[in-house]
């Protein structure tokens, strides 16, 4: 077992929110076609409120902190927040479009000891990237910022979200990342808007493209292993949980609301009414979520993909039942193995004809 696995196992056993994702604003200077957020800024937490949240997280044992948005650098107090988080010895990753990272910002990020800067880059072609972000010149500014971060020795990664607009460009983006000397993450995830609007899901890549991605060595590593035949489901798997959301991971919106994960819009409480500790330990929603083991999933517990499926309970929740299957992850399992999931077979639709292209994949570099 790796040290990270050991940490997660221990945090799960102790109920410690080892990881937190904090959006400090939903405002953004880009208007990406696939974005799941609205860009409302009214009612955002003040600097002092955010510092208080960070202090509370630290006291509860949080170690990994993702600061994101919206575009976090739109907040004038962004660096004050980052500095405070680092003074609390939090391991901070910053998710940004980077267009506001000039020389002084890049130097400051390095000086603060930010663990990594994660940047969305949609294409190797400026016109495609700018069409997706709807911000003219954004590709150039993002690329320049990546260069500045690299020059300062900041660990930087590019996330390439796959969608119809940039179809077939992932390999070229990966090559660009290699030229820039930064790591590369491919993400075929288009999620519904948090307000329930699913219209953006039509932007997702097709089932065929998804299958191609999963069978491309430079994206997934060992294809044989990644697309391995089904494995048996043992007691450990059935006793386990789908993911860390609500177990060791919390999401906090710019409006002080707590959720299990950024992709799991199940309200758990407001930090303007309760402390984080109270919400984390006493929220009925979180406790209900934690009571659900894989064996309790009405469809997925009997599925041949159970042992390795990356079922997202948040996406299942957005489909109406967090104990149910996430059809996007069913598609992903199908794309990997060619074997329909239990939910697909039950629906009498073993092969997705018109994929909405929404799947969740993580850790593919």
């Amino acid at each position: 077992m790796s040290l990270l696995e050991e940490m997660n196992q221990k945090a799960t056993a102790l109920g410690i929110p080892l990881s937190a994702h904090l959006d400090i604003t939903w405002r953004c200077n880009e208007r990406c076609v696939h974005c799941y957020l609205d860009h409302e800024g009214k009612g955002e937490m003040t600097t002092e409120e955010i510092k208080d949240v960070l202090r509370q997280l630290s006291e509860c044992g949080t170690f990994f902190l993702n600061i994101s948005g919206g575009e976090p650098l739109l907040r004038r107090d962004c660096f004050a927040i980052l500095e405070y988080a680092r003074a609390l010895h939090l391991n901070v990753k910053l998710k940004t479009n980077a267009v506001m990272i000039g020389p002084s910002e890049a130097a400051r990020i390095k000086q603060l000891g930010i663990e990594q800067v994660q940047i969305s880059l949609y294409s190797h072609l400026p016109e495609v990237h700018d069409t997706i972000t709807k911000l003219p010149g954004s590709w150039r500014r993002t690329i320049d910022a990546i260069g500045r971060l690299k020059a300062n020795g900041v660990k930087t990664s590019i996330t390439n979200v796959l969608m119809t607009h940039n179809s077939g460009q992932a390999k070229a983006v990966k090559r660009l990342a290699e030229e820039l000397g930064v790591s590369f993450v491919i993400d075929p995830t288009i999620t519904p808007k948090l307000n329930g609007d699913r219209s953006i899901m039509r932007l997702g890549i097709s089932s065929q493209e998804l299958e191609e991605v999963f069978h491309t060595e430079e994206f997934v590593g060992n294809v044989g292993e990644f697309c391995a035949p089904l494995s048996t489901v043992d007691e450990d798997v059935l006793e386990g949980y789908s993911c860390s959301a609500g177990h060791t991971l919390a999401y906090i919106s710019p409006f002080a609301e707590v959720f299990p994960c950024v992709q799991f819009p199940m309200p758990c409480g407001s930090l303007r009414k309760q402390s984080f500790r109270e919400i984390w330990w006493q929220s009925a929603a979180l406790n209900e979520l934690r009571s659900v083991h894989v064996r309790d999933l009405h469809t997925c517990s009997h599925c041949t993909h159970t042992a390795y499926c990356t079922r997202c309970p948040g996406l299942a929740y957005m489909e109406g039942d967090f104990r149910g299957p996430s059809s996007r992850d069913c598609e992903k399992s199908y794309a990997r193995t060619g074997v329909p999931s239990a939910a697909m077979s039950r629906a009498g639709n073993p092969v997705p004809q018109h994929s909405s292209g929404l799947v969740q994949i993580s850790g593919v570099q």
Partner: protein, 102 residues
């Protein structure tokens, strides 16, 4: 002041948290993660730059964990050396403030 004494101070260039009796520390210099057991955690928490390592070992390790002083000090020096290599602790022969350690 004992010229052979060692003083240790926590570096600000780390990320850290407590997980039960253990402490997780990551060096922001090289992103190496360490999980300190309860003995290591005691030494880490006492690393204020002002208390000699020998006193930390005597007061916090030997008494709390019932370990022989010579053995404990030898192990503690090795442990401190490893963390210092990754920039997690600064080591000095004279007391330092936390500010100086940074």
């Amino acid at each position: 002041m004992d010229a052979t004494e060692t003083y240790i101070a926590q570096s600000p260039d780390i990320a850290a948290t407590t997980l039960g009796d253990d402490t997780i520390i990551m060096s922001t210099r090289d992103s190496m993660i360490f999980m300190l057991n309860s003995v290591g955690t005691v030494i880490w928490k006492a690393a204020d730059g002002a208390t000699p390592l020998s006193r930390i070992v005597h007061e916090n390790v030997c008494e709390e964990f019932d370990i022989a002083e010579d053995r404990a000090l030898t192990d503690a020096k090795e442990f401190v050396g490893q963390l210092a290599q990754h920039g997690i602790l600064s080591v000095s022969t004279a007391p330092v403030s936390a500010k100086e350690a940074s």
